[in-house]
Symmetry: C3
Subunit: 650 residues, 3 copies
Amino acid sequence: MEQSRWLRRTGPARLEYGADYNPEQWPRAVWDDDVRAMRTAGVTIVTLGVFSWALLEPAEGQYDFGWLDDAMDLLHRNGIAVDLATATASPPPWLATGHPEILPVDADGVTLGPGGRQHWRPTSPVFRTHALRLTRALAERYRDHPALVAWHVSNELGCHNVHDYSDDAAAAFRSWLRTRYETLDALNAAWGTAFWSQHISDWAQILPPRRAASFPNPTQQLDFRRFSSDALKEHLRAERSVLREVTPDVPVTTNFMVMGDTRGMNYADWAAEVDFVSNDHYVQPGPGRDELSFSANLTGGLAGGRPWFLMEHSTSAVNWQPVNRAKRPGELARDSLTHVAYGADAVCFFQWRQSAAGAEKYHSGMIPHAGEDSALFRAVTDLGRRLGDLATLAGTPRTPARAAILFDWESWWATEADSHPSSRLRYRQEALDWYTAFLNLGVRVDVLPVAAALDGYALVVAPILHMLPGALATRLTGFVAAGGHLVTTYFSGIVDENDHVWLGGYPGPLRDLLGLRIEEFGPLLDDEAVTLDNGATGTLWTDRIDVTAPDVEVLARYTSGDQAGRPAVTWRRGASYVSTRLGPAGLAPVLGDLLARAGVTSELPPGLRGRVELAVRGGYRFLINRTASPVELDDGTELPGTGVVIVAAR
Amino acid sequence: MEQSRWLRRTGPARLEYGADYNPEQWPRAVWDDDVRAMRTAGVTIVTLGVFSWALLEPAEGQYDFGWLDDAMDLLHRNGIAVDLATATASPPPWLATGHPEILPVDADGVTLGPGGRQHWRPTSPVFRTHALRLTRALAERYRDHPALVAWHVSNELGCHNVHDYSDDAAAAFRSWLRTRYETLDALNAAWGTAFWSQHISDWAQILPPRRAASFPNPTQQLDFRRFSSDALKEHLRAERSVLREVTPDVPVTTNFMVMGDTRGMNYADWAAEVDFVSNDHYVQPGPGRDELSFSANLTGGLAGGRPWFLMEHSTSAVNWQPVNRAKRPGELARDSLTHVAYGADAVCFFQWRQSAAGAEKYHSGMIPHAGEDSALFRAVTDLGRRLGDLATLAGTPRTPARAAILFDWESWWATEADSHPSSRLRYRQEALDWYTAFLNLGVRVDVLPVAAALDGYALVVAPILHMLPGALATRLTGFVAAGGHLVTTYFSGIVDENDHVWLGGYPGPLRDLLGLRIEEFGPLLDDEAVTLDNGATGTLWTDRIDVTAPDVEVLARYTSGDQAGRPAVTWRRGASYVSTRLGPAGLAPVLGDLLARAGVTSELPPGLRGRVELAVRGGYRFLINRTASPVELDDGTELPGTGVVIVAAR
Amino acid sequence: MEQSRWLRRTGPARLEYGADYNPEQWPRAVWDDDVRAMRTAGVTIVTLGVFSWALLEPAEGQYDFGWLDDAMDLLHRNGIAVDLATATASPPPWLATGHPEILPVDADGVTLGPGGRQHWRPTSPVFRTHALRLTRALAERYRDHPALVAWHVSNELGCHNVHDYSDDAAAAFRSWLRTRYETLDALNAAWGTAFWSQHISDWAQILPPRRAASFPNPTQQLDFRRFSSDALKEHLRAERSVLREVTPDVPVTTNFMVMGDTRGMNYADWAAEVDFVSNDHYVQPGPGRDELSFSANLTGGLAGGRPWFLMEHSTSAVNWQPVNRAKRPGELARDSLTHVAYGADAVCFFQWRQSAAGAEKYHSGMIPHAGEDSALFRAVTDLGRRLGDLATLAGTPRTPARAAILFDWESWWATEADSHPSSRLRYRQEALDWYTAFLNLGVRVDVLPVAAALDGYALVVAPILHMLPGALATRLTGFVAAGGHLVTTYFSGIVDENDHVWLGGYPGPLRDLLGLRIEEFGPLLDDEAVTLDNGATGTLWTDRIDVTAPDVEVLARYTSGDQAGRPAVTWRRGASYVSTRLGPAGLAPVLGDLLARAGVTSELPPGLRGRVELAVRGGYRFLINRTASPVELDDGTELPGTGVVIVAAR
C-alpha cells in the first residue's frame, strides 16, 4: 500500500486550509483580491482546474495553459500551494458532441446528455484516450512548478456516472467477468443460472442488468456493482500511471465521497490506489452531525491512521438538497474540527468564492455572495487562525479506540438488493445507529473497513454483515476465540460472496459461534413494532431464534409479536446477536451491557457522556459538544454549545 | 368447453399434493434426498421444467433431455406424477441475444432486456417458432412416459409481458382489429375518432397506445387490453395445439393468476381453453385472507364447478412484496384447505426446495433453507397427511350458494381507465368489500364470472358493473323479472362494449329497472366522507339520484354532503342500487336487509357468523376460523384459531 | 399593439355566450336539436373545428369541407356566430404516421406517439407546412362566410407540447440563441460556461437541456423555457400571417391557459400577438375560487383593459383531475360572472354537448349526458338569460384598483429552477396568498404583468420577484421615488436576466431602496415554522436581515428560529420587505398596515369585507359572495350564498 505519501511540500508541518479555486469564473482583476483574501483567511492550499478542461483544451489537442500558468504563478508568489486537478471530471462540449459515444447510458437505454457535468462512460476507450492525453499535457506542463504539491485525479469519481449500461460497459463487464471467473461454468455456478433459464453459453450473451421484464439475476447485479466500482478505479489507475510516469515525486489523490447514501464506489478497495486519502463530506438535515463524525471516522479508518485530506465540505448551505440550511454560528468550526479529530490534515471547501452563475451558485463558499464583509468570511478567517495554531497535530495518527464498528460496501450492496425478505433494511443507518449509541454512552469507537486488522480491539460490532464469505467468518470466529467480543445483528451471515444462501439455518457460518439457529426471518411491516423485556422496542425485523447451545445467555426477550417469548438479544462466550432494529435509544442498554462484558469503559467523566464526543489524536483530546448548549468540563471551563476544545491528553 | 378433463392418471381419486420441482438447481446427489423427502411429505405430483429451456435446448435445435429423463424416471420410480412444463416461460440467453426482436417493448419504447424472466413478446413470430419447436420436442420425447399426467403450458402467462408495445404487437393489434371490426368505418365509430382528429383512414395508421402527449383514445386502450389478453391466449392455444396433436390423451393446463391486482388476462375468457383450470395465489398483508377466499371462490367459478389445480401458493413468505411476512402456525394449512374448500383438487407450492441462489431464493419452499429439520417442513408433512385423508373429496363439485357476486374483467379495465370522474375507484376492492360483508354475516356466496348462468341464485351482486353491453343489461333485467334479486352499485351501467356512454341519464340501461335517474356523479375527494341516515359512512363516490318510479323504496338517505336528503341506497321490486362506497362494515346492514328481502339466510348458527367461514363441497362442510382465536362449534368441539374443520354435511 | 379588435360582427354590443361545438361527433340529425337548444340557452357564438383536421383533410391535400359548410350555414341561419378554429391543434393519423418526424420528443428521448392530441413539435418544418396549408384552405373557404366573426388559431397552444427536445427543437434553439446573443462569447458569458467545463466553441455544440447526468446549466434551462414559449408564439404568428393575408378584417385569437400550474407560455409576451385575448380556465379543488378570480384578474391585466374572451371553462365537472367534482348550485353562474367582472365579454364552455365517447366524455358540457331535461341545462339557460341582460357591460373596461400585484413568468420560471436554496418555493402560490389577503380585507387589487404601467397605483406588491433585470429595478425604484408604495418578498431581486446573482448582499438592486442587506438565506425545512412578534407564523423561508439605513421601520420581528430577534417585515419610505411565507392569514395584519400607509382603503362596508369580493367594471359593481352562506347587503337585500349581484356603481 503506497497510500502514505503526503504533499510534496517544504517547510514545517501544518494543517492545510483552503478550497477549490476556480479563477476562470471571474475576471482577472478579481484574482488579486482572491489571493489577498486567501492570505487574510489563512489559506495554505487550493485545488485548481477541477472543471477547466473546456478552457485548457479549447479544441481537440490544442491547449491554452496561459491562464493557468498565471494562476499558478500568482498563487505561488503568495505562498499558496496547489493541488492540481487533472481537469478530466467534466468533458468539454466539443468532446461530448463530437464523440457522443462517450456519453453514459442508463438502465432504460436513455443516453445522458451533456449540459451538466461528469457525462462520460467510465469504460469509454475514446474518453480514456482524451482524458489521458490532457492528463499528460498537464503533468508535463507543471511537473516542476513550485506551487504543485499534489495531483487531484478527476473529481468525485462516480458521483453521477458510476452505473453505466452502455455497450462499452457491456464489453468491459464481460472482460471483467472473464477475469473473475475464467470459465463460463464458474460464472453459471456463481450466478445460479440454472434457475429462470439463464444458463450462459457464450460470453457474448452477457449484458449489464438493463431494465428487464422482472428482477434481474441478483449475482449479476452484485457483480455489476463490483465491476462498476472497479471500472472507475481503473480510470483512477490509468490517470495515476501517467502522473507517476511524468512526476514520480508528486503524490496522487482523488476525492472520495464517504457520505450519506453514496455507495457505488467501494472505497475500502480504492484506498490503496491513492497516495493519500481525500474525502468530500456534506451535512444533511436528517442524519445530522453524528453522520459527519461517522463519515470522518470511517475515512480515518480507510486511511489506516495516516493523514487524510478533507477535500470538500461547505462553509454553509449547499444547493442540491430539497431545502438547504445555512450553518449556524459555530457549526463551521465544529464540523471542520471534527474531521481534524479523526485524522484530517487538510480542511478544504468547495469553493473559494461563491459562484454568481451556474448550477452551484447557491452553494456557499469561503467568500459568499455578500463578499468579505460578512459573518461567514469572518468565521472562515477565525477557523484559519485556529487551524494555524494546531500545527503540532499535523501528521499525527488517531489513537485507536478499544471498540470498532465494521463497515462493508459489499454487505451494503447485498443487504439492499431487491427481492429480499424486506425492502426496508438500511445498512448504513444500522451502522449509524450503533455509532450514535456509542456516542451517547461516551465511548470511543473506530469505524473500520471490514478487512481491517482487529488486533487490539476488545469489542467489534458488525451490523448487518449480510455477505459473509467463509474466510471472513473464519477470521471473526478466530477473533472471538482469541478473546475478542463480537456483536452482529439481524440478516448477518446469510450469504457467501456469490450471494448464495448458507444452508442449514441462519446465520450459516455463525450458528455455532452464536449458539443459535434461525429457521425463518420475521421482518416487520412499516406500522409494526415489538416490545422486548428490557423495555426496548424493535422495528423492521425480528428473527425466530432457537437457542442451540447450553451456554447462551438471553440478554433480552420478545414480549410481543410473533416471536413473543423467544430471544431477541443473545450472548455466548463473547459472541452476541441482536435480532431487531433497536435504534440508538434501544441499543443503549444492550451496548452498555456488552461494553461491560468486554471491559470497555468510557474515557469521559459521567457528566459529559452523551453530551460531549471524545476523539483522541496525536496526544490531544478533542472534546466536541454534540449539543447546542454549553457544557461544563471537569476542569471547570465551559465548552460552548456546538463548540470544540482540544486539550493535551492526560 | 373441454375444460373438464382431469389428470391422465390411474389409481383411486385423491387430492394431489406437490410443488414446482427444479432439480436442475441442485447437484444430482440432492435429488435422491428430494424424492425421499417428498414421500415423507406425501407429495403425489410435481411440476417439472418450468424454467429449463436453457438447459433442455442449450443451443438452437440441440436438445439435452438426459437430465430430465433421469428426473422423470426417478420420480416415477417413487410414485410421483409429473405435470410437465413446456419450458417456454423464460427464453434462454442464446435466444434473447441472438434474436433481440423477441424482447418486449414498453409504452415508452424501452426494450425490456433479458436477465430476469418472461422477456418475450406474446406476438413475436420468432419466439413462437422457437417455443413451439421445443414444445413439440418435449411432447414427442415424453408422450409415453408413465410419470406424465398433464401438460403445463409456459408459466404465469402475462405476469410480466402482457402489455407489449413493439412493432410485432402493432402488427398483431391491427390484425386483431381487422377481425373485430372488419371495416375502418366500424372501428372509427367504435373508437369515437371523430373527436380529437383521430379518424383512421388506413389500417397502417393504427398503433398500440404508446406514450402520447395526452390521454390516448380510451377505446383504443380498451381494445389494446382485450387484444393483449387475446395475444397470450393465442400463445396458449398454439402450444396446446402441438400438445394435443402429439399427446391427445394428456390434459393441458396453464397456471392463471387470479390474485390481487393481476388484471391483464381475462381469465373468464381463457377458462374454456384449458382442460382444467390451474391457479397461482399468494397472500398479501393488506387484503388478507378474505382475498384468498375470494380468489379461490372465483377460481372455482371459472372452473364451473369442476376440479381445479392450485398450481402455486407459498408455504410461508414470498420475496417480491415490500415486506414479506412468514406464515404463522396454522396459516399454511388454513390457506391450503380454503382452496380445497372452493374446489381445488390439487395443492401445490412454488417450490419444492427453497433456492440457495437467484431471484427467488427468499421465496419459501416445502423444504426451507433450514432443511427438513424445521417447523416448516413438519407443517408441510402434516398437511400432506391431512390431504391424504380427504381423498373422498377429490372430484367433487362445490355446492352452489344462494347468492353470487359477479366479476367482470372488462368492467375492471374500463372502471379504472384514465380521465374518469374519479381515479380512485378500485373495482376489485369493491367486489372484495361485498365478499367480506357476506362472510361477516355468515352467508355463503359464489363469485362468478359475469357470463355465468344465474339460475338458482336468489341474490346477485354486481359491484361497479361499469361496462354493460345491451345483451348483458337484458339478461340482468330478465333475471329480476324472473324473481331474482339484483344489487348493483355506483358507476355501473355507464358504458357499452365500446366504452360509449349510455345517454339520457345514468345508469342508462338500468334506469327503468331501478326506477331512478342520475344526472351527475358526485365523486368524493380523498379526505371527504358523507353520512347516511342508517349510521353508515360513504366515501369515494356519491350520486345525485332522482327517483323516477313510485315503487322505489329508499333504504338509506344521505344526511351530509352535496346529496344530503337524497337517496343513497334504493330498492325497487328486487333491483337495488348502492350509490357510495360503504366498505364491509357499512355494507353489513344494507346487505342484511337485501338478503332478507331475497330470502337468503345464513347456514351457520348465530354465534359462528362472522368468525367462521363456511364452504360446502362434495357433501362436506368446511368450517374455517377467520380469527386467530378458538371458536366453540355447535357440537361443543373447538375450532382452533386459524383452523379448519371439515365435517360431513348435515 | 393590435390587440384591440373585437369580433367581426354587426348588431348591438352584447356579451357573447357559447361553447366549443363539435358536430362531427354526432349524427347529422342531432345538429338540428343542437341549434334549437342553443337558441333556448341563449347561445350567440360557437367555436367550430378545433379538432377537425382529420375530417377536413382526410388525405394529404384533399379537403372535405362539405360537412363544415353545412354546420356554418345551419348556425348562421339560426343567428349563431362562429369563431372558426384553424383545426391544426391535433394532427390527423395520416400525418402523424406518414411523417413521424413531427412528433415531439421528451427530455429522455422518448418520442410521444399519436393517439391523444397535440402530438406535434412546435418547430417542425413539416408540421408547419401542413398546418399553414390547411389554415390557408380554411381561410379561403370561409373568408366571406357571414357566420365567421373571428379566427381561433390552433387550441391551447403548448398544453402538452411546449417543451420538445427533438432535433428540430435543437436546430431552432440554436437559431434562437444566435439571434439573442449574436456571439458565442456573449452566450458563454450569459450561461456562465466557465464553470463545469461548459465553454461552447461552436453553435453546433448546443443542445436542448435533455436529461443529463447532473443539473443542466441553469441559464440554458431558462433560455430553453424562453425559446419554447417563443417557438409556439412563432407558430401562432405564422398561422396569423396567413389569416391576416386572406381575411384582413377578421380578428385572430388563440386560447391562453392562465390557470393553475400552466406556466410554459409567457402570455405577457404573447398578448400583443392576438387581436383580442382569449383564455381557458378550469377550477381545481385545492386552490378554489380565489384562484379563478386571480386568473380572471390577470387575464384582464394581459388584455390591458380591453374585452377578452373566456373561450373555455366548464359547466360542471372536468375529467382530468384525480377526482372531478361537479359544480354545486350557483357555482356555474358565479364562476362565469366572475370572469365577466374582470373583463370577459364572452363566456364560453368546452363543450356544447357532452361527448358519449373519447377521452373527454366525462368532461361536462352545456348539454350533459342526461340531456336537456336536466338541472345543468336549466342552469345553463338561466345563465344565458342573465348574460343577455348585461349587454350594456359589453366592451367596457374594468375600473382600475388602487393596488396591484405584479406577475412575471420569467420570475416564475427562475424561482422554481433546480439547485436552489429551497425546492419548495411556489411563485404563483405566494402571489395567490397576497391576492386572498386583499380579498379578505375587502380591498380591490389588479393583477398585472410586470411590464404594465404602474401610474395611478398607490401600492404595488411584487411577490418573489426573483429575476430583477437592472431596468426593472430602476423602474420600481422610480415608482417608490414618485410616491408609490412597493412591497416585495423573500428571494426577490436575486438575479439578473441571465440568472446571475447580484453580488454584495441580497437583494442586490433593492438593498438601498429597502435599507437592508441579507448575507444568507434561511429556508425552512418542511416541518419547520417560526413565530413573529405580531403573532403570525412564518414557513418555507426566512432571511438573515441586517438593517443598513437608519429610517427603516421593523414592522415585525422573528421571535423564534435562527433569526430570532431579527427583522421579519420592514418598511422604509414606501418600500417594504416580507422575508417569510405568512400565508393569507398571516399577511392580513401586514397588508392592513401597508394599505394604511399607502392610503388605500376598502370600498366595501366593514360587514361585507372578506365575505364579498368587489369588482368594478363599466360603471357596475360586481358583488360576489365568496361564501356558501347568504350575506345581507347594505341596501338590505340579500346576496345568496355563491351568488353575484351586479349593481350600478354609486
